[in-house]
């Protein structure tokens, strides 16, 4: 079973960072993982997306075009990807930035006003982490212990003071 995850939004929202966290969750759970960014010209100020695969078996294609799990943080990405989610999959939507409401009944859709929550809670720029928290709650993808281990690995030493705020952002997401 491969969990194929697609993350999409604007450059600067921490899409690739969120992907890296997810990949480390998989690595620390002894799974096979891959992480692949979009590296086209769309990166420059436009939309940005990232494919993450977490699997028990060796990963063939690291490119995800039919995700089990979709996280979108802007309207263009929502429009582009919402119909690619496989039936039974889940979609997490930052409802502060995406107006649309999905009428698909074959997938589980969660609306989290992540950007507004981040701004209200002095966590500016951590909407991505709040969404990650929501994903943890809905899928049990990993344990809090692993989340902390991954945070400590991915957050560079000079930003280590932000680890606790990131953990709080995860918890805030889990409370949604």
């Amino acid at each position: 079973m491969t969990n194929e995850i697609l993350l999409a939004g604007f450059g600067g929202q921490g899409i690739l960072f969120m992907g890296k966290m997810l990949a480390y969750f998989g690595l620390y759970e002894d799974k096979q993982v891959s992480w692949l960014p979009s590296y086209g010209p769309e990166m420059r100020g436009g939309t940005c997306n990232c494919s993450v695969c977490i699997s028990d078996d060796p990963i063939g294609s690291p490119l995800v075009d039919e995700p089990n799990t979709l996280i979108v943080m802007n309207t263009p990405s929502y429009d582009k990807f919402i119909n690619t989610v496989v039936p039974g999959g889940i979609a997490l939507i930052d409802s502060t930035l995406v107006d649309g409401k999905c009428d698909r009944t074959d997938i589980n859709v969660f609306y989290v006003p992540a950007t507004a929550l981040a701004n209200e809670n002095n966590m500016k720029g951590m909407a991505n982490i709040i969404l990650l928290g929501k994903l943890l709650k809905e899928t049990n993808i990993t344990s809090m212990e692993t989340v902390r281990k991954a945070m400590e690995k991915v957050i560079p030493p000079k930003k280590a003071h932000l680890i606790e705020t990131n953990i709080k952002a995860i918890e805030l997401g889990m409370a949604q």
């Binding site: 992480w35 590296y39 060796p58 294609s61």
Partner: protein, 355 residues
């Protein structure tokens, strides 16, 4: 460092080069391989090596030529259009019998092409990496960990046979992150004084070496080339490599290299689940081409399918290797489009894997 960590393919190649004893890197940025330069610009000075961003790809390969002549392990990297620029220098390096490692993280071509993954440089790298009668060793890893393992092998064989070695990757392998593990080992030292041909300091203890690729007497040039091709025969006899899966009873054998082999492997796994007797051969060395391995794997095959991210290049070598003893079909996507495992599976079924 024995801990498993996630690294981009490009960064892993760069770190592996340092551990393989590469002391000098000469490069020029181009998507999708620039992380190699970026990583080495930070790391190389810390291990007492040289990182140099040249003014062009042509300059970079000629710096490699000079550096390799002094017996020091050195490397350059680029992507397709940049490799075309380097080919003159590569031919000189081969003509002077010098070892070096060249990385090509392929993108779409011809011309500036695109920046997405491609395998359209197969013909160039295996058949015409410059003018003249010569070959380069060509390795085609299929994962980030394998790229790491390939770098040391490439440097070692390049030194042993005094010829350039190419690691042929593509944008997918260069950009993706996968878990990697580096063996606990000291950084290898390449000792120039153990290379009797090297143009390095010798305290007047021997005659000075001259490194050159110009031979004006045809007979002398012919002898030089023949000696080189005798070395190539040794490479062909001992250093071909392929990974074969499910080939013992396979009626349809898929042949694919590099990242395409991963996609093809997914398709073959899916075919097996449906009861289709499919197998896969992944050439790891593209030159020398694993002729014997392929023939062995195709022993029971009724048909062969080559899958590439190109309009069909390796497929020629597959036909030559099999001496047209089996029908060989082709499936390819090009221009930066990555084939889907489902497309490959559909092709396997269309070829009669269903009856």
């Amino acid at each position: 460092m024995a801990e498993k960590t996630l690294m981009k393919g490009n960064e892993a190649l760069a770190e592996a080069a340092i551990r393989a004893g590469c002391k000098c890197f000469f490069g020029y940025p181009i998507t999708p391989q620039t992380e190699i330069s970026a990583y080495l610009s930070k790391r190389m000075p810390k291990v007492g090596g040289v990182f140099l961003q040249a003014e062009s790809e042509v300059a970079a390969i000629n710096m490699v030529y000079g550096c390799a002549g002094s017996g020091i392990r050195c490397m350059t990297s680029s992507s397709s259009p940049g490799i075309s620029l380097k080919t003159e220098g590569i031919s000189y390096i081969a003509g002077a019998d010098l070892p070096c490692v060249i990385i090509n993280v392929q993108r779409g071509g011809p011309g500036l092409g695109g920046i997405q993954p491609s395998q359209a440089d197969y013909w160039q790298v295996t058949h015409a990496l410059g003018h003249g009668d010569f070959h380069a060793l060509v390795f085609a890893p299929a994962s980030v960990q394998e790229m790491v393992n390939t770098v040391t092998k490439a440097f070692d064989l390049a030194d042993q046979f005094r010829m350039p070695a190419v690691i042929l990757a593509d944008g997918l392998l260069g950009q993706m992150m996968e878990p990697v593990q580096f063996e606990e080992c000291e950084i290898k030292m390449s000792d120039a004084s153990k290379k009797p041909w090297a143009a390095c300091g010798h305290k007047n203890e021997r005659k000075h070496n001259i490194i050159n690729s110009l031979y004006l007497k045809p007979e002398q040039l012919e002898d030089t080339i023949k000696e080189r091709f005798e070395r190539y025969e040794k490479v062909k006899a001992n250093h071909t490599e392929a990974v074969c899966d499910y080939c013992e009873d396979a009626e349809i054998v898929v042949v694919a290299y590099g990242s395409t082999a991963r996609l093809a492997k997914s398709a073959v796994d899916a075919a097996r689940k449906e009861g289709i007797k499919a197998g896969i051969v992944r050439p790891v060395t593209l030159w020398p081409f694993p002729v014997n391995e392929l023939n062995e794997a195709c022993r029971n095959a009724k048909k062969v399918l080559t899958v590439e991210m190109s309009m069909g290049q390796m497929v020629d070598d597959v036909k030559l290797a099999l001496n047209c003893s089996k029908p060989v079909e082709f499936l390819g996507r090009t221009g930066g489009v990555i084939p889907k495992p489902a497309e490959i599976l559909a092709k396997i079924k269309e070829m009669g894997g269903n009856d």
